[in-house]
Symmetry: none
Subunit: 554 residues, 2 copies
């Protein structure tokens, strides 16, 4: 009986229960983008917000309006209806008013209000060292800055969450003041006091003890909610978040894939399954948890980050086992070497020798795309073989469904090609004046009812900003008139990744292209040691998919 | 006074004291190499053992003799004197005897003894599910296997540490048996009982509670030492290790950079500074701690892994700051935005040149690069202006210190160019057979004492995997003989990022290049709407910086 329990629910944590409910707060789009080298566009941010909304996270912080033009534009476009969130509240982040000024005329608070979100997250200093040394004002004035700012936002009908910056350092150094800061925010109407470990240096026991004290003081009277926001500089961000919740906090902030400044923020991709599977707190639904791996990968791809294969729960290696003792034990009972059932987070057991695991993935993937591959084992195996070969060569179909569909159609014999490339040439030249010129030539056969054999040969030439643009122009020139729908197709996004960066300029290049015809958007992939060739392959798939999709079933 | 304390020792943990001493046990060379894709040679392993020995870790597990030829050879060469460890004991890992056989004739135990290490680590099953389902023997026989094996090793004069595999899962499921396993090992003479979270699914409170129980039972009578060995599948490996120590364990196992199967093992690079700087336990000396970053990077490089820039304490971004507000506060007091002094772990404060940078950032950045910009306000302003213009055009100097130094040198008039580009041409062609060819031509003026005017014009041609590789070859061909040091310079890493991906193929491209001359490594950046042109600019900076640095001050 005891063993049955293990097999069914191996991960459930038997110790101290956590609060019955916890509010997740996602700050991928604000604190997450502080990570070195990340520069998502506004379109990227809108796409990521939609992905996170799909998980059912109740709060999504979109950015800091006014801090940079991108975040201002993000909220403007969201307000115009470009971000119809289904479940999350969109949150704008901002700072308390400047010292010795009125809150009402404060430009930063004004911009925060203009973002027109139902909820705002206001950050204020909670460490007296920062108040006096960094801001250069008095401790009393800082309290007034907090209270005035919260009050203004409340009077404008906003729900206010208060981020107490450096709370834990402040509490260690000057506890009375740190608590006075919380008091000021709570009295003025903040509904949640978020204790931040801004420098990330805390360890779980201090987070638990200090949070417990705050919960005891504020949680009791009228119930001001307490939250935690921690960084990973001691590699304890997930444990510190759990410690805060154990102490009675019911709001926790983090980012998808744990991205953030320095060593990152608390990782929601680990926190969510820890909370749901280990503590039984339904922070997201079962279906949504099953999408966690996909969302983690898509957010990473959108930010042009390589997903960490060793990430807990969502990494490609999270449930991978080397052949041998583990494999045979796993076959007898999967729970012998797994702490959870990987399917719950959308992952899968990977055995290096196992073909079955892969084939079921192909069938599952087909299902997702509306293609039934379950009935034809031979076809699924052929597709699996091609996917494995291509992935070995550097392909990744995670974010390139259209290329995968084309591959399936090719193997199934249902593909209907409308053009065939004969060859191309791209020339880039930089003259002495410094300006580069790019010219492309494309030779292509197009489906042509009027021609002998049903195909006619075309050649086109184009100039562009770069070689890929020039080839795009050349292709359009070559097939001009043959595919009227091509005019509606444009490349919406273009990403280049070096697959084996250590190989220097001889490295393999993977190009991901997003295309749109104004209604649908689709993703394709191309791989080559040559960046132009990789780009061409991804674009060729994009044309093929787009033209087939418009003209008829592909 | 309180603030002085903060500035001097900001990270010290004021809560529950840990044990006064803790034994570190490194298993990088055994459990660490379970990470997918890692295949260190015997020479690599010997080198890594020496590096870890330099840190002053008391135990280094070298491998599992007999499990594979590499590990057997490793111990044979160590026994021959090839691994003169200065401080660590070398440990060989092995398994208990097979079921229903004598320990004395067991081949696996025989190989373990042949490794001739003073200390052995013996692993045995502590979860009854594994005993019956995976091994297929009885619970009693498993106890006998453990006791017999420990006794044999003790009788041969070995110190024995006992790894209780799946201890925490076993204790949850069948606690009496898990404790009986420890009892068997302790009675037979094991000096340390190591509680393993083999599947990595535990969270800190359970580790602390269970370890506390074991310490209470075994730690008291004659003092059998208790240790912990955990994995990172809940992203809590570091916190779980600390939880075990908090409960009275005094031995902790982990790996450098946290490498290991699936999501990795407890990361010694985080545990060591956490223990020393936060808890004041001198697990390693001050000097050794100062080498932590170097050791972490060298171990990663030896294993052909790219060091994780976001790793706590030892990552390149661990003490990097982006926001302008942070920078000005850091100037006033470095502890405002640092949880420890980076120098203690051999790291350094890094200020990222970004949109938010102010003049003070430029001056501080200059200081770090050994350039005094504080005295010349006009120069600092000119540099700031150029940085902002270039960043607006898509440049990012965050990860391109060398390009920033060249920019400063240009503005300061101290740059000494050794070549000037006249122009280049790159041609990529894909023929009907599908294979792409790339050809590059470079026209360049090089500094030449023998030529009229001090410059001579060169032209070179090259072929390559792609257009960038072809241009690299062409440049080397063009300047052939003029810069002998160029042969030592190679491109170590190459990254392409699309800055405004929604512009499709007309988007701005940013290329980051890392170059190395075998001693130093430097980073440069190039931006253009044309990917080839952007690559060329980054490479040109790389050549300029590398050649100037080798030939004399740049």
């Amino acid at each position: 009986m005891a063993e049955d329990h293990v097999a069914e629910s191996p991960g459930r944590q038997p110790d101290t229960p956590l609060p019955a409910w916890v509010d997740l707060y996602d700050t991928t789009l604000r604190d997450g983008t502080q990570r070195e080298g990340i520069t998502p566009t506004v379109d990227d941010k809108l796409r990521i917000a939609r992905l996170i909304d799909g998980l059912g996270v109740p709060f999504i912080e979109g950015g800091w309006p006014g801090a940079n033009p991108k975040d201002t534009e993000f909220f403007a476009r969201a307000a115009k209806g470009e971000l119809p969130l289904e479940r999350a509240e969109l949150v704008a982040f901002g700072m308390t008013r400047r010292p010795d000024r009125d809150a009402s005329g404060d430009p930063s608070l004004g911009t925060l209000l203009e973002a027109a979100t139902p909820v705002v997250c206001l950050v204020g200093k909670a460490w007296s060292l920062h108040v006096t040394e960094a801001v250069g004002t008095t401790k009393d004035e800082n309290l007034a800055m907090i209270a005035d700012s919260v009050r203004l936002l409340r009077s404008e009908g906003r729900r206010v969450l208060f981020d107490a910056e450096h709370f834990f350092d402040g509490h260690r150094n000057d506890p009375d003041y740190a608590l006075a800061v919380l008091e000021a925010a709570a009295e003025a109407g903040a509904e949640c006091l978020v204790l931040c470990d801004t420098n990330g240096g805390m360890l779980p026991e201090e987070v638990e003890r200090v949070t417990g004290g705050v919960v005891g003081r504020f949680g009791g009277r009228g119930g001001t909610q307490i939250g935690v926001h921690v960084h990973n500089d001691t590699e304890c961000a997930v444990a510190n978040s759990l410690a805060g919740l154990r102490a009675g906090a019911t709001h926790v902030q983090g980012t998808v894939n744990g991205i953030g400044e320095r060593c990152g923020n608390a990782n929601l991709c680990s926190l969510i399954p820890n909370l749901k599977l280990k503590y039984g707190i339904d922070v997201v639904g079962d279906t949504e948890l099953g999408q966690l791996t996909t969302v983690a990968n898509e957010v990473a791809e959108t930010m042009n980050l390589i997903p960490d294969p060793h990430a807990p729960y969502v990494g490609h290696a999270a449930f991978a086992h080397k052949a041998g003792l583990h494999t045979s034990a796993l076959q007898k009972n999967p729970m012998t070497y797994q702490h959870i059932d990987p399917a719950k987070v959308g992952g899968e057991l990977r055995l290096l020798m196992s073909e079955l695991a892969g084939r079921s993935t192909i069938v599952m993937k087909g299902e997702q795309l509306g293609i039934d591959l379950g009935g034809d084992g031979d076809l699924a195996n052929r597709i699996l073989g091609r996917v494995k070969d291509l992935e070995h060569a550097g392909y990744s179909f995670e974010a390139a469904d259209a290329s995968f569909e084309l591959l399936v159609a090719d193997e199934a014999g249902t593909a209907e090609d409308v053009f065939r490339l004969e060859g191309f040439r791209a020339i880039v030249e930089r003259r002495e004046d410094g300006s580069p010129v790019a010219e492309g030539t494309v030779r292509v056969w197009v489906r042509d009812e009027t021609a002998e054999g049903g195909w006619s040969r075309r050649i086109g030439v184009g100039e562009g900003n770069g070689p890929v643009d020039a080839l795009d122009q050349a292709f359009r020139h070559a097939v001009n008139g043959q595919f009227p729908d091509l005019d509606r197709i444009h490349l919406a996004d273009y990403k280049v990744r070096i697959v084996d960066p250590q190989a220097g300029t001889g490295a393999t290049t993977r190009v991901l292209v997003s295309s749109s015809d104004g209604e649908r958007e689709w993703q394709t992939v191309g791989v080559s040691e040559n960046v132009i060739d990789a780009s061409w392959k991804a674009m060729a798939d994009a044309y093929r998919y787009g033209l087939a999709g418009i003209d008829g079933p592909g």
